[in-house]
């Protein structure tokens, strides 16, 4: 092989991946950014509007509430699963119960199930005549039974809990793997110092899990910001606009209202939020690294 051929070789190996990545991800993303400065219905000529779509987005109560809902979902999809998964992961390391592995597999299972299946299933569970309310009636809690996904108060938290159910197992799996990496000597040292269980958890376990916690938060927070499938198959944004999320607005504006520029502007804002949150979580984790 000639010297030139050898120099070109690595690029030949990269070519196939980039042949898919550039036209189907990178170029469309750049087009989204460009499109966000235009008014376009997808058919006729696009008209340049500068920052018009962004002004409209920031001024719109609907867009603002969509991002507000996404941040509520961050609590249910990210914060709550992490808080639940910490004791669960520590327990599952502590407990020498038979079938511990099987239990962890089981807790992780919702992660493998299509969000559409999850949404359809929970739609039935949370229905007015569904099993959750049947259980409440059985315990005489008739006053507590409501149409969970149709309620202005409960629709968003209900979707949030579905996210908690889906993502806690992922966090347990990540933390369990992380716990195995913490050297036993650290626990011995803590025991010698006479640390109680809480001190031990705060001084050894929590710092040792910094990496896995950052990973878990990154993944779950991104899935909260991008919650589209679940909303689309359960509430479609309702009742009213109580569960409208950014992904749903992008879809509606682009494919139902024919406002492609506006959809693109919201998509750009969403991307910036995703980048910023990812960066922030990993910055904090790095700064606190031992």
């Amino acid at each position: 092989m000639t010297a030139r051929g050898r120099r070109a070789l690595p690029y030949l190996y990269l070519l196939p991946a980039f042949l898919f990545f550039v036209p189907f991800v990178l170029v469309p993303f750049a087009h989204t950014v460009g499109l966000s400065f235009y008014d376009w219905d997808g058919l006729t000529r696009a008209a340049f509007t500068g920052l018009g779509n962004y002004r409209e987005a920031f001024g719109s109560a609907l867009v603002r509430s969509a991002f507000g809902h996404a941040f509520v979902l961050i609590f249910f999809f990210g914060v709550l699963p992490v808080l639940l998964a910490l004791p669960l992961a520590v327990s599952s390391v502590n407990a020498s119960i038979p079938g511990g592995n099987a239990l962890r597999t089981l807790i992780f299972l919702p992660q493998a199930i299509s969000t559409v299946v999850v949404g359809v299933s929970w739609g039935w569970i949370l229905a007015l005549d569904g099993p959750l309310n049947a259980g409440l009636h059985a315990f005489g809690l008739d006053w507590a039974a409501v149409d969970w996904l149709g309620s202005f108060t409960w629709a968003l938290p209900s979707l949030g809990i579905v996210g908690t159910w889906t993502l806690t197992g992922l966090c347990v799996a990540l933390f369990f793997a992380g716990l195995q990496q913490i050297p036993g000597s650290l626990y011995d040292a803590a025991a010698v110092d006479g640390a109680g269980r809480l001190r031990e958890f705060l001084a050894v376990t929590l710092p040792g899990l910094k990496g896995p916690i950052a990973v878990a938060l990154t993944v779950t927070v991104i899935s909260a910001l991008r919650a589209f499938d679940l909303v689309f198959v359960t509430t479609r944004g309702g009742p009213g606009t109580e569960t409208v999320v950014p992904g749903l607005l992008i879809y509606r504006r682009a494919f139902e209202d024919g406002r492609l520029g506006s959809a693109a502007a919201i998509a750009v804002i969403l991307s910036i939020v995703v980048f910023a949150v990812t960066l922030l979580i990993n910055r904090i984790a790095d700064r606190n690294a031992p």
Partner: protein, 274 residues
Amino acid sequence: MSIAPRSGAWSAALLVSFAAITILPILGIVLLSLQPEQAQLSGFELPDRLHFENYARAWDVAQFASYLRSSVIVSVAVVAGTVVVSTLSGYAFGTMRFAGQDVLFYLLLAGLVIPFEAVIVPLYVELRAGHLTNTYWSVVLPLIGVNSSFGTFWMRAYFRAVPRQLIEAASLDGAGSLRILWRVLLPGARPALLTLVVLVFMWSWNEFLLPLVMLSREDLRTAPLGLAFFAGRYTVDRSGMAAAAVMVALPVVVLFIATHRRFVHGMWVGAVKQ
């Protein structure tokens, strides 16, 4: 294990109760899928007998045979494409030195944080202009593009971990780079490849937004898409809907249970770089 089993009973109770909370909704849907058609059910009653005809009804009448076939075609094509392009690019990034290496790698990694919602609008416009909407290509090609980011990252990590002497020895023997990849490196890469296959299969099978936008022809619909439309239309046939839901979830669940250890490890390593 390093942590002393001090409060084993409490720990076990906590774990078991959370596992119960996790399994209960899944169990509920499986039970519902075996109830008689049109049954008005409010809870977790056991069916009088196992009504497997719900599955037959979903399979034939609700066209899930066609939806599942679409999903198999799309997922297998995406897995095959992603594995090939990621192996080649991961090999280059992991074992070779060349100008612009870091820039190209980070460019590709950007695919991991670009939300798909930020790609979908122009993608639809462009594929429509190319008369590719309402074909499997419109779902397969973008999914290979998106997954090649993770795939490249994943395979690069594997190739970097291979001892350099192994490659150098083969090179001294006169083996070309493709031959080294095929004969020397890939035989040991099976665990890494298996994880990649499972993850990419799961992501492709469960993808919703892309087929929703690209495929309006009913005979092309993928399984999650079919289920979403089915659930919206036949709100009375709950047992049929539950049977359909079980069928949509089953392939990935089976694959996941069969390979779960590697799978979890893959999620972990895959998530670390984000």
